[in-house]
């Protein structure tokens, strides 16, 4: 019987403690984001890849100070990739001039077929803020593993065409290169632009913020 009384006391204490923690965290929590908040879950952005549009080797640090939308796709992709890019484009259109501080990084997971020229032509079609990035399998695996995404190739058909399985998510990084949001295929364009607007107001010096 003593066992049960003890257990009851412990359970009560644990219950009270967890309610307290919940209340405290509720007081401090900021309003929820419209897309998936992944702050603190993933490492800071690091990579060394070739930017197709300038045909130049770039590092993640080169883009610090800008909001980055990173997507893993390939130019032969029949549906998901063009659809995602056009959704991002519509969301960016709602931002006005602030869209200049946002970059879409289209990382090719099919470097075997996507040449620098292909990537350049493909991304430029979607607008100047879309950049194509290309790297070898080692660099690609390192980057995708870090963000816990994967990709794979199906067997080629008679024409040598093959499907590529890849992630459908867009990773959003803030000006410091921290992973902040994950845009899923189910997220509405309006949700994306609301969150990007909010992220754009972060990390700007107060003086320049009042000027805007």
């Amino acid at each position: 019987m003593g066992d049960f009384r003890n257990l009851f006391r412990i359970t009560c204490r644990a219950g009270l403690l967890s309610i307290g923690i919940l209340l405290l965290s509720a007081c401090h929590s900021e309003p929820p984001w419209a897309t998936k908040n992944i702050t603190g879950l993933m490492p800071t952005l690091e990579f060394t890849l070739t930017e197709a549009n300038r045909n130049k080797i770039v590092h993640a640090q080169d883009y610090r100070g800008e909001i980055l939308l990173m997507y893993f796709g390939y130019t032969h992709c029949p549906d998901v990739c063009p659809l995602t890019l056009s959704r991002l484009k519509s969301a960016l259109a709602k931002l006005g001039d602030a869209a200049q501080q946002v970059r879409v990084l289209f990382v090719s997971v099919d470097p075997g077929r996507d040449s620098i020229e292909d990537l350049k032509r493909y991304t430029e079609y979607f607008g100047p803020e879309v950049l194509g990035l290309r790297g070898d399998q080692t660099a690609l695996r390192e980057l995708t593993k870090k963000y816990r995404v994967t990709y794979g190739y199906n067997k080629p058909n008679a024409n040598g065409d093959y499907d590529v399985s890849h992630s459908s998510a867009v990773y959003v990084f803030d000006r410091k290169g921290e992973a902040r949001l994950l845009i899923r295929p189910t997220d509405a364009v309006a949700s994306i632009s609301i969150d990007l607007k909010r992220l754009l107001t972060e990390g700007i010096p107060v003086a320049s913020q009042s000027k805007q």
Partner: protein, 285 residues
């Protein structure tokens, strides 16, 4: 050859898993030798059971299986079935406490381990975790907890959360199955009554059938993280979810049935031993 190496090498190398596996194998082998010197036999099946459990743990945590578990729901469910059920079951079935104990150098056992084991924080903590209400709640609760869709999504994105998830499943599995299969005589050590063990295993089985059936029969995709991050190979999300649900449902429930059968066997063995003990004491009187 290179592909075999890819399958056998860890996706994310963990020194903790490697060291834990090496140290426990070393202690077990040392313990077996020490016992042989003392004239005690450990037995082939007992050591096989222990090492099979250990190999299973290493295989699902430190080979290509770990990569697949991150990118395929049903492989993830299989990984947890092994971490939470099968491997701890085999290890508990080997009753390794005596062998591992003999493997630890005597001075260490006396100077460090025993005082630590008898210290009140460890005693209270262990007593709390192995309480007949807390243990099954924790065992089933952890399955439900890590399958909460929101949390599951985060656990599959964050390396830290992912590690906490897998370790909590493994450690809880070891505690639970040891509590269920503990073969010491009731007069030898304070163990859980056989009838209570059977009741716990039955309740755990029902709870696991419920969540397994819920996932299998769901017509919508409950865990979209695998679509978001990309699957290891192309497979329909609902098929993946159905196989994963069935893995959580059938084999997990079967483990409870197997557990109940083993407890019944243990019960019979213990009561026979107790009967013999009682009649011998009666003769002496």
């Amino acid at each position: 050859m290179s592909s075999l190496l890819t399958y056998l090498s860890p996706w994310e190398f963990s020194p903790t898993v490697l060291i834990a596996c090496i140290v426990s194998s070393w202690l077990f082998i040392r313990g077996m030798r020490q016992r042989r010197r003392d004239g005690l036999r450990t037995g082939f099946w007992r050591s096989l059971s222990f090492f099979l459990g250990l190999i299973l743990i290493y295989a699902v945590m430190q080979t290509y299986v770990d990569y697949l578990s991150q990118h395929m729901f049903w492989v993830h469910r299989l990984q947890h079935l092994i971490l939470h059920h099968l491997a701890p079951f085999f290890i508990a079935l080997a009753y390794p406490h005596a062998v591992l104990g003999s493997g630890i150098p005597l001075r260490w056992r006396q100077k460090v381990l025993l005082p630590l084991w008898n210290s009140w924080p460890i005693r209270t903590g262990y007593g709390f975790l192995q309480n007949p209400i807390v243990a099954p709640t924790l065992f089933v609760g952890l399955i439900y907890f890590w399958l909460l869709p929101g949390l599951h999504f985060d656990a599959m994105l964050s390396t830290t959360l992912y590690k906490i998830m897998n370790w909590s499943m493994l450690l809880d599995g070891l505690l639970f199955w040891w509590l269920m299969l503990d073969n010491r005589m009731p007069n030898e050590s304070v163990t859980l009554r056989h009838s209570i063990r059977i009741f716990i295993l039955f309740a755990a089985m029902i709870a696991q059938i419920l969540i397994g059936a819920h996932i299998t029969l769901s017509k919508t995709v409950l865990y979209d993280v695998y679509s978001v991050c990309g699957r290891a190979w192309p497979i329909s999300p609902l098929t993946d979810q159905e196989i994963g649900g069935l893995t959580t449902w059938i084999p997990a429930a079967m483990m409870s049935v197997l557990g109940i059968l083993l407890v019944i066997r243990l019960w019979m063995k213990h009561s026979t031993a107790q009967y013999i003990l009682d009649t011998e004491q009666g003769k002496e009187k």
